[in-house]
Assembly symmetry: D2
């Protein structure tokens, strides 16, 4: 840990202290009963709602787990980060001609803004932006799904990661709003590939299943200037790690991104499966999972745990 | 300086190095000739357009100046930070019932969003939000202008700071779009005081004149956990300093806020007078001024200088 | 009557038949208890809600009255027709550079569309359009209120018509949404005069009080190719009468205009005071009044009576 | 002819007079060279642009033709009337739970409004509304295309009417904006059938080819209380004819509907193939065709001819 940690006025010296803190916060989170499991597709609605997991990784390669941290869940929008990395790799700065990097100020699936802005999505973290990114992957990788899966497996060091075919099929069947966005972008000539193929990739990617610990491990490189502390490999450049973190800071938490920056103060991304991953540059990654969502589509318990841990450890980057 | 600085692979040891770097960047900025002086009011349009200033303050209390750093200019929207601090002081967390803290995803003066969101502005950095803040000041301080002026003079340690009455009068005469926002909020019962009085405070506040050095000095407390390194006084709590920095990160640079986070990576605020102030937590403040604005209303040379200095010194918080 | 009237398969020969029909319809209307009196200003909220009036004038100069047809009420938006006539008289076709003639597809007081369309209101029947018209009157008549009042008194042959000063003052105090529209149009340079003066005229005009019979008499010229059948004077040209009727057909009944055309089929205008005036070209005018409004801001009983009478007499122009 | 016709102060007695008038107007129209042929699909862009046709039918069964009145062209949006009639026939008043009857106040293909209004299109004449209608046909007729074709052939008494397969295929390939609308409505559960099947019907229907004379003949029943004067068959009830005419009056001419009512004053529908059909109740039908479109998507010469003829003959319903 390169940062000095202070909790309640006391320096935190040892893994034991952190373990105790995580347990305490997890216990408090279990008292929260508000929120509602995403029910727009049966495969998500069927998840046991009271599950709750919290993981902390540090740049030293330490991993702290509390709760259901080895249960697989649908990472949903968190997968947008993987897609973005791969599209940045292929298109470089040209990518930003086709998608902006500005916060959206709208519900995450609004297509009003997409029409105003002539088919250029506001950022890669809203659905339209991630669909645009899927078009880049489909058009620029020979087998886009294999390429994504290979990245994901490498990042979390787990070869058994897969996309849930039930969720994938279900998303496709109920994804008419996303199909609307895709066709609208196509009408503005901002989608190259076949719309159905692009949507298939997008829905597939959302259906990737990971555990809370998988998530934290996978993204620790973003807190470490692009280098994975577990494998010591440079995943992306420091500059790109900072740029992705910047995007997550302004646009990662749906229409609660501003509040998250205000009350927590670190880059983060959530998904409607109930997962949240928060990047703490020069320190580590916090991931949390619990299926019941607040009004903004973010995990109710997850928000509590990430905020509490960040506040108690003084992790705000601001 | 609590951070280690590295520029071009070499550690920066001494004030001389910083001086040299600032001069080099200022010189490069002078080659930029794009942009257009704000001309919506005569008082702004009359400014000599080629002026250019760059200041850096550090937490040690050092101040580095290049160019026209002692010329007064209209700080315009940068004044929104002063208003926000004072409103937070009076209303505490109740403030956030009346203004949100989410990025707007719209041009800074759009009233479409204001109508959609029933008179609750998206954040205190867009005009509608700052007008709402002005209402809080007018309603909760006996003499709101004196209170603001007193804060500003204290912060920059200069008793001769004033608001330019020409600019103030001119803003008022041409401020019909802001008047529209104010009346719209009043129609949603989100303005307490008389609309004309609120607008008068708002336009007055935008007309405050400061120098580039004044600006940097005034805001150094935001980089120092709320404590002014020049006077050693605690201006606000560390928590509030982080929260204000978070707001600036997501919403401080108009509809270029996301790009600024992406390419620079520090909290910042700009004004149509051509000023920019960028907060580097645990390091210091960069302020820049040059009147010609890019398409987003941010100083063209100012953007270059802040970005260049932050990149060269590796200052991104992400 | 230049049209043959048929009700229930039988020709209607005589005034007696019409009297009977109106009474029957009025009686049925009295059974309607839905709706809510406009309560945005106290002066309107205080009206006795169960009042109900129905008048029919014919081109022969006959007048049929049932119910409270000689009670004064606030004509509100119906006054927009008077203003429009006077503005058309002064500006001719140039008027249509400053206000369009297209239906709005929005709630009658939306300012979203006004911003999209750069301060050009969609038509003279939405509030923004009528405020624009008020600007024309204030700018092009030496005393705009006298000019309007003189027209109104002439049209209904009643020199005691006046604007209710309580309503006028009350509208002004609560008219912040209208003020927002006015300032927005001013910001687009589509208001010439002082905004406060324009709004004062607008609110004053809305406060004109008339009886149900007054209303029907005043507008019979629109059903008679521009000639008042009571005074035999040509008020406007046949072409202008048709053009005003066309505007009322597409935009006269707020966001229920399409439904009104579909189910009734004649040009009409309503006001939130509960009045409705319906023009039947080549036949006469139906006016109705009852204060309780439906969700669209149209009198619930008024809508019933006008529709019923028009359907029973087969008056649709389509 | 049940109306007395007057042109230039003189009664028009005889077919010869009408023939002369049509020729004169057609000749004037040929002087108009503004406008641009629809070029969003190759099949439309290839049409010879200078073609120009004008037809007038009367309730006596007379037909007057000038210009290229027997050339087939793509009727495009005019086909929406056929679809509407058939959907009204199947669903009755329940139809209006799924599509409104209000003017849109937006460009004809805007999906912003569709999102605001939760997937309920504003009226059956905008694309989204006609796609909704196509869903009704696909869901409630065993073979929706056959059913439409059979109606169209009957109405114009021509068994060789067909849909152009080139246009159909081309529309489909370039119809991503319409696909976006369809998926958006599906996401709001306002489309029953498979989206692709619905769109296929819609694009097919737009590709129906007719001549100018075909068009006028087909719609004469709308001017004759629902009875076709050529076949003497009752096509729809008088009430439904009036209701369809009302819809055309408020929404038939895209975002020029208000102006058309104002300057012409009769129900009408146009298509981007350059056709216009105008219903004159109790008199007859005017149809016009010329491929070059004005900024609103209405035929430039067509607009001139219809307006001129209606004005010269005094045909406004208002």
């Amino acid at each position: 840990m390169t940062r000095d940690l202070v909790s309640g006025g006391q320096k935190i010296h040892a893994p034991d202290d952190l373990n105790r803190l995580l347990k305490e916060i997890h216990q408090q989170a279990m008292q929260i009963h508000s929120g509602k499991v995403a029910d727009y597709i049966p495969a998500l609605a069927a998840v046991e709602p009271e599950q709750c997991a919290l993981t902390l990784t540090t740049l030293d390669g330490e991993v702290f787990n509390v709760g259901n941290t080895d249960t697989l869940f649908s990472i949903q929008s968190i997968s947008k980060i993987f897609g973005l990395m791969m599209a940045m790799d292929r298109l470089g700065d040209d990518l930003w001609q086709r998608v902006k990097m500005e916060p959206s100020g709208q519900a995450f699936n609004s297509i009003v803004q997409l029409e105003w802005e002539k088919g250029i999505p506001r950022n890669p973290m809203i659905n339209a932006g991630a669909i645009l990114i899927s078009d880049v992957l489909v058009s620029h990788y020979s087998t886009s799904k294999n390429a994504v899966m290979s990245l994901v497996r490498n990042l979390c060091g787990n070869d058994r990661i897969y996309a849930d075919e039930d969720v994938h099929a279900s998303e496709k069947e109920h994804g008419h709003r996303n199909a609307a966005s895709a066709h609208l972008m196509k009408s503005f000539n901002n989608i190259e590939a076949d719309v159905d193929e692009v949507l298939d990739h997008y829905f597939w990617q959302c259906a990737i299943s990971m555990t809370c610990e998988n998530l934290a491990r996978s993204f620790t490189f973003l807190a470490n200037a692009g280098v994975c502390p577990f494998s010591q490999r440079e995943i992306i450049s420091k500059r790109d790690a900072q740029r992705i973190n910047a995007l997550l800071s302004t646009s990662g938490m749906y229409d609660q991104s501003g509040e998250f920056a205000f009350t927590v103060g670190v880059p983060a991304k959530s998904g409607v499966g109930g997962g949240i991953v928060a990047i703490v540059p020069d320190f580590g990654v916090i991931s949390a999972w619990s299926p019941k969502l607040n009004e903004f589509g973010n995990s109710a318990r997850g928000m509590f745990m990430v905020r509490e841990l960040a506040n108690r450890l003084g992790l705000s980057v601001y």
